[in-house]
Amino acid sequence: MEITEKDVDGVAILSFSGSLDALTSPEATDYLEACISNGKNQIVADLAAVDFISSAGLRVVLTAMKQTRLAGGDFRLAALPDGVHKVIAMAGFTSILKIYDDAESASSSFRK
């Protein structure tokens, strides 16, 4: 898994690629925790290049959501491929997370 980061008006846009699963979740968790502890609490996860998410990946998403909200921000998802979207929806996360078609819409949503 690879994670690249860019900052758009104070919003951290993290682009993930590969699988978000039990093998990659420790790395993703570490990365997100470092972001949040560095004061970045408005985060967009661009999942356009993620091909699979498992239960471990869902736990990463949920933890990031809780931690950013506790810090007064939010963790929003963007550009979910169909297969990833199905799993996110089946786990009920679409009712508690904000999800956008692309990273730009997700980052601009923080300014509304």
Partner: protein
């Protein structure tokens, strides 16, 4: 997959949730796992998934399972209305309405289950098998693991309003999807480490022109929401990994589209093939 004990043998569970004919994709998953040399340590089935969970646990070859399904699961199953149910509905006091209510005559499904599974029991399963049903009287989820397979399956597919509940092991049982449409929790409880979960949202009716269709629609709405909430909880509760396998279908698959069986199995195999390298890495076999 992180484990505190490297000697611990990781147990693989295949969980097949409700989904009518789509559950046949499980046969594709089994084929893919078998070809990759990955053994299944337990199978859990619910509703339509129980048909395939039983076949897989019995060690039925994919081709034979496909043939059995062709003979078992066709649209004719819901063609014959139950006259007594109609009479009970119109005049409940005269005809004695009771809990044994189902709009469809179940004699055909009973004879087909008998033809497919005969007198085989859970003890003949080569790998541990669990079938989920729902207690009609208490609403409890019931995990069936002993007795005659065709009784357990008949209970697990007792779609509310459509097929009457089924009395088995002193309990009146109905469709497992009413309590646990994708029973990942059963695999967690039985000690599975790696859970391969095949689950589907039930499709909504395209038209409501009969009481069975109306009943299907109502129960589908409830069961789909239950699937979501249960799956969310089970994903977060499990200590290791749940791998959702979601076959892609390029066309609508209806509950009794047995003509699509081969395609459904192929899509199941394809979806599982995509996850095989990951499963192998988790199991330390690659």
């Amino acid at each position: 997959m992180p484990t505190s004990n490297p000697e611990h043998k990781r147990r693989v569970a295949l969980v097949i949730g409700a989904g009518s004919i789509k559950c046949a994709a499980a046969l594709g998953l089994q084929k893919s796992l078998y070809q990759a040399g990955i053994s299944i340590d337990m199978v859990v089935g619910c509703s339509g998934g129980s048909l395939y969970a039983a076949l897989i646990a019995l060690g039925t070859e994919t081709e034979e399972a496909e043939r059995l399904t062709h003979a078992l699961w066709t649209r004719e199953l819901t063609k014959k209305r139950s006259i007594s149910a109609l009479l009970k509905t119109v005049a409940p006091r005269i005809f004695g309405f009771d809990e044994n209510f189902g709009l469809i005559d179940d004699s055909l499904i009973l004879s087909r289950l008998k033809a497919a599974y005969g007198e085989q029991t859970f003890t003949e399963a080569r790998i541990p098998l669990y079938i989920v049903a729902t207690d009609f009287e208490t609403g409890e989820k019931v995990i069936l693991e002993k007795g005659r397979l065709r009784d357990a399956i008949r209970a697990s597919i007792a779609i509310p309003f459509i097929f009457k509940p089924w009395r088995f092991q002193d309990r009146l049982l109905m469709d497992g999807f009413m309590s646990d449409p994708l029973p990942v929790d059963v695999a967690i409880k039985e000690g599975a480490d790696l859970i391969i979960a095949l689950g589907f949202d039930s499709p909504y009716q395209t038209r409501i022109d009969s009481s069975p269709r109306f009943a299907f629609q109502v129960t589908t709405i409830m069961a789909n929401h239950l699937l979501t909430s249960n799956f969310a909880f089970h994903n977060l509760a499990h200590h290791t990994e749940v791998i959702p396998v979601v076959p892609e279908f390029d066309r609508r698959i209806r509950a009794f589209d047995s003509d699509e069986l081969h395609y459904i199995i192929e899509q199941g195999e394809k979806a599982m093939n995509e996850q095989i390298p990951y499963v192998q890495r988790l199991l330390g076999t690659q």
